[in-house]
Amino acid sequence: MRIKLTSIMVDDQDKAVRFYTETLGFRKKHDIPVGEYRWITVTSPEGPNDLELALEPNANPAGKTFQEAMFKQGIPLAAFEVSDIKGEFARLTAAGVAFLRSPAQAGPVTLAVFVDTCGNLIQLYQPS
């Protein structure tokens, strides 16, 4: 058993592809039409290349309710590790990304939280 795929719900797959590739810098790996939706995955150019993040269409009312409740409570639904969190914070804010939390030490990590424009809060962390 291996962890090779995880996912995040997005309210608009076109918008998500733009944000996760053009703004965050991930690479699109799969983009395959499936009925009304698409199977879209991205990987990080910093690796590992076989670990994919699926951008799931959040059309299910149950998923929408969950996503919105977590969003309003300020709870991130994914976390990405970075090696220079202050540099990423500067790069992303310059690209127009909205942060709810600027980089700050929290126990063994430095954390920041931003909005992915698709209904989610994302946490960046840099281990100390």
């Binding site: 799969h30 395959i32 009925g35 699926a54 009312p61 300020g74 709810l100 424009t117």
Partner: protein, 155 residues
């Protein structure tokens, strides 16, 4: 952009208000006033957080609501048009067709033809997300660079 908690809370409230189908629907300026924020900052911050302008968000929310009602099959296209806040059937149908690539009546017919489970939402409204994987071609799981992966268009 660094949002403070109060600003974030206001934007979430704005999203809820934009979804409401109350008539007459408040203008963006009226909404901004209700949220104690200037229209300029409201639009700029809303777009940074939700990836779309308040106006476009409201249109999309109405179309999503319309799709939901049409899929349930309990209302006519005209009733749905009025219910979600459009005053013109023609502009509603044209916008629906442009965004969803089929007319409201064609969408409703297509959903009616699909298998329905009594008491459950139509499958079109509850896509299984990761279950989409079961519809992929086998080549989607070939290692990168293999003969099969190179043959799949778009890879």
């Amino acid at each position: 952009m660094l949002l403070r908690h109060e600003g974030f809370r206001r934007l979430c409230r704005a999203r809820d208000l934009l979804r409401e189908a109350r008539e007459p629907s408040p203008s963006i300026e009226e909404l901004a006033r209700e949220l104690h924020i200037s229209p300029f900052h409201f639009i700029r911050q809303f777009e940074a957080v939700f990836g779309t302008t308040p106006h476009q968000f409201r249109i999309q929310a109405r179309l999503d609501h319309a799709r939901h009602l049409l899929a349930l099959g309990e209302h006519s296209v005209t009733d749905v048009c009025m219910e979600v806040g459009f005053s013109s059937l023609g502009s509603f149908s044209a916008l629906f067709a442009r965004r969803l690539r089929e007319t409201p009546s064609a969408y409703q017919r297509r959903i009616r033809r699909s298998i329905q489970v009594p008491g459950a939402l139509p499958a079109a409204l509850t896509p299984g997300c990761l279950s989409l994987m079961s519809h992929l071609p086998a080549t989607a799981f070939c290692p990168p660079g293999s003969q099969f992966s190179r043959s799949v268009k778009g890879f």
